[in-house]
């Protein structure tokens, strides 16, 4: 099973990888930290599952190449890609550090956004969880991730 992690925050990505590696399911993990590289990878072939961050830069930051665009809803670019190029049931989990997600200029809470993504983008297997680091002693995102990996 191939799993794609789209995450630009090193600490968060490490947390996610550790959780996946500690689970019973075995995955080949590929990771990208910007929208362009993610889209290029998806165009080569869809993975089996995607772990997605919402806020991503447009390109990889490379000295001399210019400043990448910071995209607070960069993750939605991936959702929009999947809307056109995958089946409606493609499994995605969005792990965001924000308490809400902006869709078409409106903000939706984590709880509302799953339904909104399904209604608006036609993807009905997208779960959304609020990522909180260990200091917060909140295991919700971990439980959501485990559920996502099992299914």
């Amino acid at each position: 099973m191939k799993l794609l992690i789209l995450e630009d925050d090193e600490f968060k990505a490490e947390d996610i990888v550790a959780l996946i590696q500690g689970s019973d399911e075995k995955y080949d993990i590929e990771r990208h930290g910007n929208v362009r590289d993610a889209i290029c990878s998806l165009k080569e072939g869809l993975p089996d599952k995607i772990v997605l961050d919402m806020s991503l830069p447009s390109h990889s930051p490379v000295m001399g190449d210019g400043t990448p665009l910071s995209l607070p809803t960069g993750g939605l670019e991936i959702i929009l890609f999947l809307r056109r190029n995958s089946s409606p049931g493609f499994p995605v989990i969005i792990l965001t550090q924000y308490p809400d997600i902006e869709i078409n200029g409106e903000y939706y809470s984590i709880e509302e956004s799953e339904k909104k993504i399904s209604d608006y983008f036609g993807l009905n297997n997208v779960s959304v969880a609020h990522y909180l680091s260990d200091e917060y002693h909140d295991s919700n995102w971990r439980n959501e991730m485990k559920k996502f990996l099992r299914n």
Partner: protein
């Protein structure tokens, strides 16, 4: 009027007695409010009727049934029924007929172009208390004509004087709406949007909205408008009622049947007077139809004007839901007008600028009429088009505002009915004009990439050029849309951020050429400089609080400068220093300075809120998003796991104390991250950064910003510097809020307090010392954590486009090397000083260096020594010296002569003539005051060029 013998009426009588001597507006407002509150609706109406109609109260400053000038106070919220107003009209038949006779006479004089006589009649009407909004509109019609004529200043000023004498100042908003609607330099739909953005209540709104649509969509709306006109004058109520009678709607027909016949006949005479409107439309032959559409409310009593407005305002409007509400008479008029329009080919692809009165005429029609015709066809075909892609695209150049006026459902049907990809791109663009939509935006980008890849060798500009051959307007739109942000999101075509800048520069270079615009070419050149600087940048940008200056300036250029320039162009006499802006109530105002104020607020809001490059983006991405938490908690784990303290943590009470401290700390951080370090808005009411001007200091800074941008416009005659000034002032505006964030962090630290543990009875001897050490370490760490976090909320040094001078020099060398591949000098930068050039005008220094180094590459020793000696001088100057070697075979005397010849040459064409040595360009920069002290010396086989760069924007 009713007898005054009931109890309630006796109360009214007392109020009336108290009103006779009122001369101040606030007193009228006060007594009206009191009567409204304490009396019944009938009593209130009776009271108002006395004040409006009885001679005893003629000096009370409240609008009258018949008046000699407008007053600031009108009686609103009076419970008038249609029957009340009809009765009043009939009861005042003779007075109305006298006024109408004068109005008819006035129109006859307008027809004869006898405007002196018009003024005489106007004065007579005023003396007969026949002033109304109708009279005001007619005089604005006269004014509109005279304003287009040369040598009519004297008459124009008399008309202005007459309008002033009507005390229009007291109905300022309505007067402003008239002026804006007829001002061809102001965007029509912007005026409409401004009216719609107002409170949508009160007589002012209903009258303003009637000027826009001249129709109503429900009986309630009709009554509101009738009552609004009635609140100004009885003449206006009568004229509105009779005007709407032309719609042939049942309930109005019944009302008009009750109106006395001579009154019906008087309006008929006025409405049927034959006016050849084309004779009054002189200016700007390209859009006479749109201009007439905008002014025809001034003469809406006239049947020709009314019919024109009726047809076009039903189609050329922003409100998509109008069609189902149309009156059958309206449908008939539209059908009759567009009788000959059966397919897209029946609509003109050129803008003939003419006016088609009774029927659409392809040979005469202008943009407005073509747009209405296209909408008519789309309506008729329910948004379906067959094999007419190119025709549709062509029509984009002979129509206007199609994105605004076409209902979304038609655009969707158009999209699914065509296979033509270029047309699909156009339709997506139209959809995005109508509303922001992520799916449409994504689909447009995907399609555009596909088309560019398949048909244009991955060259975006080639597509824009091809589109221009079909429709200039569509290509204009594409140029505007294909900004740096949009291009960055074309992931297939743009592999690195610099590529987006390169594509944007190419597009602007071409667009500058086809439009012969030096301003656009200048923008392209500046982007090229940014690319070069990006290439040379030796670091990845990682500031904390930040606004990307280039992206912000591009945004201002793309979204604000056009409106800003339009506003300033429309005002001949700019009052730079003495304006008084009420920053709290700009919305809905038409004053020039208030509108500039609105643009300033828009810029500041974008500066704070833009999710891509504004403060919000950096708050999220670089502060809240992991970094704040990571930084705040750094070091504690090391302390916790330090082997020295192991025994301490084995004690439950100590462990609890530590965990409690960390839990408190986490809770404080959660508050900061979730609620406080945010832009304040409805969702984040505790956000500490606010885009509104919520303090006297912010308002004062914003006023200074306005003064400076207007001064800059007045000085150089363009808005080129405005974006830089705006960016600079935005940083000044946000300073107080950044201080608030710092204070909040300090408060949080205080709230958290020091980590301490009462070891009495638990630990002894060395253990106690260990506790002291741990507490000291913990508290020092907390101190350091908060110090770091606080430091993020200071204005960064790189707040505007900034370049380090040495980097700029290296960027120029690199660019010259790209062009002259043989050029490979031994470069010496003879300074250790770091000199920052700020404010975007670093482009000037780039230009100057480019000229000198390019000359060294072209004419000098390409592998010789090149010395660069910059030095920061006092008085805001940087002294720059560049020394290069000449070719061994060259004679220094000849070179000296040649350079001096160029220095003496005229530099008038320096901006347009490229090539030669570029030295005249240096001279030009010197004349414009960007550099000074330009000098050439020729010591022993070398050329020594020196000049001073004048630092303009030091923050």
């Amino acid at each position: 009027m009713k007898p005054m013998n009931t109890k309630g009426m006796k109360k009214i009588r007392n109020y009336l007695r108290g009103s006779i001597a009122i001369t101040e507006q606030y007193e009228v407002r006060k007594i009206l409010a009191k009567v409204k509150k304490e009396c019944t609706p009938v009593e209130h109406k009776t009271f108002v009727e006395f004040l409006r109609g009885d001679a005893l109260f003629k000096n009370v400053p409240l609008s009258k049934n018949f008046m000699s000038g407008f007053t600031g106070v009108v009686a609103e919220d009076v419970d008038y029924k249609l029957g009340d107003i009809l009765k009043k009209i009939n009861n005042n038949e003779s007075k109305i007929l006298i006024v109408m006779q004068s109005y008819i006479e006035l129109v006859h004089c307008i027809l004869k172009f006898d405007f002196e006589k018009c003024l005489e009649i106007g004065v007579a009407i005023k003396n007969k208390n026949g002033v109304s909004l109708c009279l005001l509109r007619m005089f604005y019609f006269i004014r509109y004509y005279l304003d287009q004529m040369e040598e009519m200043e004297c008459l124009l000023s008399k008309v202005d004087g007459f309008i002033r004498d009507l005390t229009v100042v007291s109905i300022g908003y309505v007067d402003d709406v008239i002026k804006e609607l007829i001002n061809p330099r102001v965007d029509y739909f912007n005026v409409v949007k401004t009216i719609e953005a107002s409170d949508k209540a009160g007589f002012k709104y209903y009258i303003a909205s009637d000027f826009v649509s001249s129709l109503f969509r429900s009986e309630e709306e009709f009554m509101e408008k009738l009552k609004s006109y009635h609140s100004v004058s009885l003449i206006d109520a009568y004229i509105y009622l009779m005007s709407m009678g032309r719609l042939k709607v049942g309930f109005i027909d019944s009302a008009i049947e009750k109106i006395n016949k001579p009154l019906v006949s008087a309006f008929k005479t006025l409405s049927e007077l034959e006016v050849d409107f084309e004779k009054y439309m002189i200016e700007d032959e390209d859009k006479r139809d749109l201009d007439f559409f905008r002014i025809c409310f001034l003469f809406i009593e006239n049947n020709v004007a009314w019919n024109y407005k009726l047809v076009h305002s039903s189609l050329y409007c922003m409100n998509n839901s109008v069609m189902p509400q149309r009156f059958s008479f309206e449908f008939d008029c539209i059908e009759k007008y567009f009788k000959d329009v059966g397919s897209l080919r029946d609509i003109s692809v050129g803008n003939n600028g003419g006016l088609s009165w009774g029927k659409y005429c392809r040979k005469k029609s202008g943009c407005l009429e073509n747009s209405s015709a296209l909408l008519y066809l789309l309506e008729r075909n329910d948004g379906q088009l067959k094999d007419e892609a190119e025709d549709f695209m062509r029509l984009m150049s002979s129509t206007s505002e199609i994105g605004v006026i076409t209902p979304r459902s038609y655009l969707e049907r158009l999209l699914s009915s065509t296979e033509n990809k270029e047309l699909k791109i156009v339709i997506y663009c139209l959809m995005l004009i109508k509303e922001d939509n992520q799916i449409v935006d994504y689909d447009l980008r995907e399609l555009l990439q596909e088309v560019v890849r398949e048909n244009y060798e991955s060259n975006v500009l080639s597509l824009v050029k091809k589109v221009r051959s079909v429709s200039e307007s569509v290509s204009d739109h594409l140029v505007q849309m294909l900004d740096e942000i949009f291009l960055n999101k074309l992931y297939d075509l743009v592999d690195i951020p610099n590529k987006a800048l390169e594509e944007r520069a190419k597009i602007l270079e071409w667009y500058g050429e086809v439009n012969n615009s030096s301003e656009i070419r200048e923008r392209a050149k500046n982007i090229r400089v940014d690319i070069q600087i990006n290439k040379e940048k030796g670091y990845i940008d990682d500031s904390r609080i930040y606004v990307d200056p280039n992206k912000m300036i591009h945004w201002v250029n793309d979204n604000i400068i056009k409106d800003f320039t339009l506003l300033l162009e429309s005002e001949a006499d700019l009052n730079i220093l003495t304006h008084d802006i009420n920053w709290n109530s700009l919305k809905g105002s038409f004053s020039l300075y208030d509108q500039i104020g609105i643009l300033i607020l828009q810029v500041y809001r974008e500066f704070c809120e833009n999710n891509l490059f504004g403060i919000a983006s950096y708050l999220g991405r670089r502060i809240r998003h992991g970094t704040l938490r990571g930084t705040a908690l750094k070091g504690y784990d090391e302390i916790r796991n330090d082997i020295r303290y192991e025994t301490l943590f084995e004690d439950k009470s100590f462990l609890h104390c530590y965990e409690q401290y960390m839990a408190d700390y986490s809770s404080i951080l959660r508050d900061l991250i979730n609620d406080k370090i945010h832009i304040k808005n409805k969702r984040k009411p505790k956000g500490l950064i606010s885009y509104s001007l919520d303090s006297a200091n912010k308002k004062s800074i914003a006023s200074y910003m306005m003064v400076e941008i207007i001064s800059s416009y007045a000085k150089i005659g363009s808005a080129m510097k405005a974006p830089y000034i705006m960016l600079d002032y935005c940083w000044r505006l946000i300073k107080d809020d950044l201080e608030s964030v710092k204070k909040e962090l300090m408060l949080s630290k205080k709230e958290l307090g020091l980590f301490s543990f009462d070891s009495n009875g638990t630990f002894y001897g060395k253990q106690r010392n260990l506790i002291k050490e741990l507490c000291k370490e913990m508290n020092a760490n907390t101190e350091e954590r908060f110090r770091i976090m606080t430091s993020w909320f200071s204005k960064p040094s790189f707040v505007s486009p900034t370049a380090e001078l040495k980097m700029l020099f290296k960027a120029v060398i690199a660019e010259v090397k790209e062009i002259n591949t043989d050029f490979d000098p031994e470069v010496n930068i003879e300074t250790s000083e770091s000199i920052l050039i700020e404010g975007g005008t670093y482009f000037v220094i780039y230009d100057s260096l480019y000229v000198v180094i390019m000359n060294a590459a072209k004419y000098g020793n390409s592998s010789g020594v090149l010395n660069f000696r910059p030095k920061l001088k006092g008085d805001g100057l940087i002294y720059i010296e560049i020394e290069s070697e000449i070719k061994e075979q060259d004679d220094v005397g000849f070179i000296e002569k040649r350079i001096k010849k160029f220095l003496d040459k005229s530099c008038e064409d320096a901006h347009v003539v490229e090539g030669e040595s570029g030295i005249s360009k240096l001279r030009r920069l010197e004349q414009e005051g960007h550099i000074n002290g330009l000098d050439y010396q020729f010591p022993e086989g070398r050329v020594l060029t020196s000049f001073n760069y004048v630092l303009e924007h030091t923050l």
